[in-house]
């Protein structure tokens, strides 16, 4: 573990990514300390340009853009982590079952995944939120479900290659039960690509959340999220461009950081995946 972080810091991509991700996480955790104003409080200064009083200006209701951005990071990090968690755990279980048992189990699971995969992820998340109703919890569930097929495929492919290894035959010849074979022998050997996939998936989850919020299906006003801030800025973009620029830059930087971190982690854990994609 220590060696892992040492290698990550030696890698330029990983170093920049890790710094960015840490920055986002710190901002999210310490939002009340960092924010200069109450993100929901409406002041008398409408569409104020960035300056001394308001670091990044105010929006059309006179709310401080900087403080809303800081609190919006909470939503992004929270949604990114929980949704990726749902996708990762669901995909891990399904991928292990499909890859290990093969045959009918494999066919049923993978055809289901193909169906999920066939839809563009935003459209599918949109449909799920439309059915469940728009709120943060449902958004997270929707984004999580959308991520499941990616994880299932990654894990299944790796399980197939591990299953062909002689140590799995050896374990079976000893008389180890299936459950134990999967947990003790297959799982630890498929972790590397799985962790890489998890890191990379965080950024897509954040992006999908921003898109859903932009469409008004994610977090509900007046609470801030980067996507909903962008959405609200549409009407006043020409009068107050900072209301659009601030959340856009935040989204870009956060996603870039998570992707760079993911690439760094991949380079360390999975050398054979380098330069693929």
């Amino acid at each position: 573990m220590k060696q892992f972080f040492a290698e990550l810091l030696r890698d330029k991509t990983g170093r920049v990514g890790l710094a960015g991700v840490l920055a986002v996480v710190v901002v999210a955790v310490f939002a009340p300390l960092i924010a200069t104003h109450d993100p929901l409080e409406m002041s008398d200064f409408l569409r104020q340009a960035p300056g001394a009083g308001f670091l990044l200006g105010t929006d059309e209701f006179g709310r401080d853009v900087f403080s809303r951005l800081v609190y919006g990071a909470r939503v992004s990090v929270y949604v990114g982590l929980v949704a990726t968690g749902i996708g990762a755990i669901g995909g891990l279980a399904l991928g292990l079952a499909a890859g290990y048992y093969g045959g009918v189990v494999d066919n049923v699971i993978m055809r289901l995944m193909d169906v999920l995969f066939a839809f563009p992820s935003i459209l599918l998340a949109l449909a799920i939120v439309a059915v469940l109703g728009p709120d943060l919890g449902n958004t997270i569930i929707a984004i999580g479900i959308v991520r499941i097929p990616v994880f299932t495929r990654t894990v299944r492919a790796e399980v197939l290659s591990v299953k062909a290894q002689e140590y799995i035959t050896s374990v079976r010849s000893i008389g180890v039960k299936d459950g134990r074979v999967i947990l003790r022998h297959v799982l630890p050997n498929v972790m590397a690509p799985f962790i890489v996939q998890t890191t990379l998936s965080l950024s897509s989850a954040i992006l999908v959340e921003a898109s859903l919020s932009f469409l008004g299906l994610g977090i509900q006003p007046p609470n801030p999220s980067w996507g909903s801030m962008l959405s609200e800025s549409r009407r006043i973009m020409e009068l107050a461009p900072w209301t659009a620029i601030a959340p856009t830059v935040a989204i870009i930087l956060a996603i870039l950081s998570f992707n760079l971190l993911g690439d760094g982690v991949r380079d360390i854990l999975d050398p054979k995946l380098k330069n693929v994609e």
Binding site: E166, Y167, S170, S173, I174, G175, V176, K177, R184
Partner: protein
């Protein structure tokens, strides 16, 4: 003395599927009617060139592959009839040592845990008692007890094969099938591992089925030998008798390839022409006839029956 392992007419066919509906359109007969028996404490060697089905035969005996036909009896119990939990329990008595010591150990598990696993899985011991048994076994195969805290990649090939052997012996099996256990190792290490196997056989009263293509290795360790060609047992004999006078033309060709230190015993090398035929479409008659230097007209037409030229010896050839 009674036979511990009796293999009777063992068959393993792999289906060939083709077409849109994945229908079974043929079969590759990898193992076709192999019979032999091994007495307790003895070693039976299966020899033959690559692809002759010896590894598949070994794995089918252990039910790592489902047999297509024939029977396998271990200490009188028909292994083919066992299912689920019964089969799992029976695995205690039969273990395998694999060819590649770099692939047969889980790279993410410490050696101590690898050795402990058979004990835990079969409910033989756990905790401190298991630890003692692991330490004792490691000493028996010539490894220091503190190696238990290391991972397999920290060991050399020979040491790993010792670990694999120790693992196979943890639950005190009656039968060990060793599939080319030394062919991946350096010659100097081969000898150490062979000695270890011989010592353990005496010490623990083990019975081996030893699969190999190396006739020098086989000569040292086995009591009886079965020569396989294209999934069939073409000759079966006591080790001494086979090396003294091989009967089947294929055995003769194999043995002529073994170098001898005594010039007077050197025989003319018999070079076989051609390749092993495809097991999906074996030649008619005797499967060896296209390459056999002594092939006769009858060999092309009819399959040679198993003959017993002397007690305990078997040869499938029209010459006898």
């Amino acid at each position: 003395m009674s036979a511990l392992l009796e293999v009777e007419g063992l068959q393993k066919h792999f289906p060939v599927r083709s077409g849109v509906f994945n229908r079974i359109t043929g079969a590759i007969r990898v193992v076709e009617g192999v019979s032999f028996s091994v007495d307790k404490g003895k070693t039976f060697a299966l020899v033959g060139e690559s692809g002759c089905g010896k590894t598949t035969a070994g794995r089918t005996i252990l039910r790592l592959h489902e047999p297509t036909g024939g029977s396998v009896r271990l200490a009188g119990v028909d292994l083919a009839a066992l299912e689920g939990e019964g089969l799992r329990t029976a695995r205690r008595d039969m273990q395998m040592v694999f060819q590649n010591p770099f692939g047969s150990l889980n790279p993410r598990m410490k050696v101590g845990k690898l050795l402990e696993e058979p004990l835990v899985v079969h409910g033989i011991a756990s905790g401190k008692r298991a630890q003692e048994m692991v330490d004792a076994m490691m000493e028996k195969v010539g490894l220091a007890a503190e190696f238990g805290r290391r991972y397999p990649h920290q060991f050399s090939g020979g040491q790993r094969q010792r670990i694999a052997i120790a693992r196979a012996l943890m639950c005190s099996p009656k039968l060990v099938i060793a599939d080319e256990p030394v062919s991946a190792l350096d010659v100097s290490i081969q000898s150490q591992i062979l000695n270890l196997l011989v010592d353990l056989r005496t010490e623990l009263g083990l019975t081996y089925v030893f699969i190999s293509h190396d006739l020098n290795v086989v000569r040292r360790i086995s009591d009886a030998i079965g020569v396989m060609y294209l999934g069939r047992l073409v000759e079966r004999a006591e080790t001494g008798a086979l090396y003294e006078r091989p009967l089947h033309p294929y055995s003769e060709a194999l043995l002529s390839a073994v170098p001898s230190l005594e010039p007077s015993k050197r025989k003319e090398r018999i070079i076989l022409s051609g390749d092993v035929p495809n097991p999906a479409s074996p030649p008619p008659g005797c499967v060896f006839h296209p390459r056999c230097p002594k092939a006769m007209e009858v060999c092309r037409r009819s399959v040679p029956p198993d003959k017993e030229p002397s007690p305990g010896r078997l040869v499938a050839c029209h010459l006898y």
